[in-house]
Symmetry: C3
């Protein structure tokens, strides 16, 4: 099994090319975060070129934050191109519960593209599983949900990894489930911290040699620690966003500590 340290080193050595189809809110933050981490981002969404971009890329990251008809189509084309190449695809179903259009778009993407991992928050997980939930826009919202159990079911249904992030992160392929602790309460107070995490996870997957569950859990464990590190120099969200980029750049593999545990599968069928 590859170590967390080894994976981070591989990202920085191999500088994987990450093709992002993302939203107008976080595009800059996501690109800067990937560069700071050591990866090489490309942002492209034209129908005419996304197949080529995903074909050259080491990973494709699809984000529906400010989706429209054209860029959902681009996401499907890019995802299929990555599938053909055999490279990982990360899906970030931003605010999927907020409109029927988002639900149908995600359903279309999941039907057409073999997704390696869905990275979402608890509210988005609830929408994916058609569970009642009180979400608010693209925020996680509040509700009673057995996150681990629902995540395992969604992972089995789509035959992919599901990573649900929040105060505690849950990562599962439906069989093995990790929980990750840590992070900082400033993280949800900046826009795009989840979107950037999806892209960071893509960079780890790009160098994982198929050890996708381990790589996903590592990316999340790493990101929580990067957030804690950033918070040492910030008490408010403006500075925190800057420091998160700084920390992605300066956090070393030696800094990594163990903050993830394997938990027992719930074994519950929905």
């Amino acid at each position: 099994m590859v170590t967390k340290q080894h994976l981070l080193e591989k990202v920085r050595t191999q500088k994987p090319l990450i093709h992002n189809i993302t939203n107008i809110v976080v595009a800059n933050f996501q690109a800067n975060g990937l560069i700071a981490l050591g990866a090489s981002p490309i942002m492209a969404q034209a129908i005419e070129e996304v197949a080529a971009m995903s074909s050259h890329a080491d990973c494709t990251v699809l984000n529906i934050g400010t989706l429209d008809h054209a860029n959902v189509l681009a996401m499907i084309i890019a995802g299929k191109s990555a599938n053909q190449k055999g490279t990982p695809v990360v899906l970030d179903p931003v605010g999927v519960g907020a409109s029927e259009f988002r639900k149908q778009s995600i359903a279309n993407i999941l039907r057409e593209v073999k997704v390696t991992i869905i990275r979402c928050n608890a509210g988005e997980l609830a929408a994916l599983a058609n569970v009642d939930w009180q979400a608010k826009g693209v925020d996680a919202g509040e509700g009673q949900l057995d996150v681990q159990n629902v995540a395992e079911q969604v992972a089995k249904q789509h035959n992919c990894i599901v990573a649900v992030t929040g105060v505690k992160d849950t990562v599962t392929d439906g069989q093995t489930t990790f929980q990750i602790e840590g992070g900082h309460n400033l993280m949800p107070l900046i826009t795009g911290s989840g979107c950037l995490l999806s892209a960071v996870t893509g960079a780890f997957l790009a160098v994982a040699d198929g050890q996708n569950l381990q790589a996903t859990a590592t990316a999340l464990a790493f990101y929580k620690q990067v957030g804690e590190n950033a918070a040492q120099n910030a008490i408010a969200p403006g500075t925190f966003a800057v420091e998160l980029i700084n920390s992605l750049y300066s956090f070393t593999s030696e800094d990594l500590r163990d903050n993830m545990t394997i938990v027992e599968n719930t074994g519950i069928q929905l």
Copy 2:
């Protein structure tokens, strides 16, 4: 009459959902500013979902900064949805004087949507009123204009509040007019300070229980003080943009001082 302190507290307690159709330049800044303030932003512009988003939202903010045919249509659909729901609509006519397309788009929006408030600068006010003005792109530009008088006329014409921001802000519903002093000369040196103010005003309107003029004046009075506060930690615009977000987060209702006055209506008819 609700106090300024009370309105700010309500924003932070109720965390209103603000639906923004905005431009590619300020989307990130606007989202981060709203979160820092305590509101909950959603950015969405697809024709297929904007009615749903504005129907769920507590306020809708329309900004034509990088408009195109599709997102002006989306603004009209979103605005009508907000009108049906009875929630406030903020219109930011960015650079309306800079092209015939902007003028016609704003005219279309104002014809189709009942707007609660127009938040603009002096150059944009001049364009709205068809007054000669030497504007430069989306900046306020320079010209001779009796801002108060023209703002009162535009407010009467569109039966809405008009907030004209600059060195001194003017807020009027055509009958009662406030002037607000303060702010800092770094504010116009960052892109999107006006756009973010429009969204911040939307958050105050969302909790105003119909006291819209008071809420608008309060938002502007608050924002000027937040800018002053941010400038205490910044001497250049890069840092100032970061500190403005920090200050939106950390500025408390106890910090608020009185910087607005009611001025006599000019009584002049254009």
Copy 3:
């Protein structure tokens, strides 16, 4: 011959209006950088208004970073409008080697629009010249290339200035060639440092009174020093991006030192 100091002062005094058709990743950074420098940015890409915007502007900057069919068309319309007005046009062929669509779009723009300057990195130069090159997404990539020679050939072919930026910058009109030294290794670690440079160059061209080669070289020499200045307050890319904006604002003409030299034309024909 105008001095570097004089050109910078003219930018700050004349505050030229720069019309940018740019990408969703850097739009905010580019606008903030132009304002900090002292110029006046407008970002507009609607087919219906770009001719008007470029007609009013002192310079037009075209950037294909997140191009699509519509905004390439807008770039051609805007470029033609600037040509009619006789104002300079800057072309930033972001990642032109990364897809056939980008190559064809740049070819279309160069066929339809008289471009004053192409501002690119070495990988993009190689793609423009159809030279083999190992590029990675929109990064410069690695390869063996006689940058000066190829830049001179491309400049002659398109009858324009070519500015190739990297560790060492090369600026040429095909006859006279400058090399510029300096800068900082944090510069390529933030997204949009090249895009912003293209816009900054546009601001210098806007006040150059036709001394375009000198103005371009001056913009690049200035920008490298601004980057060095910013790096004095930053050790990681998050802070560096903020400090670059600060430095564009605070760097004075007195701070400028000589970091450019005229080098002999290679005289080689491709």
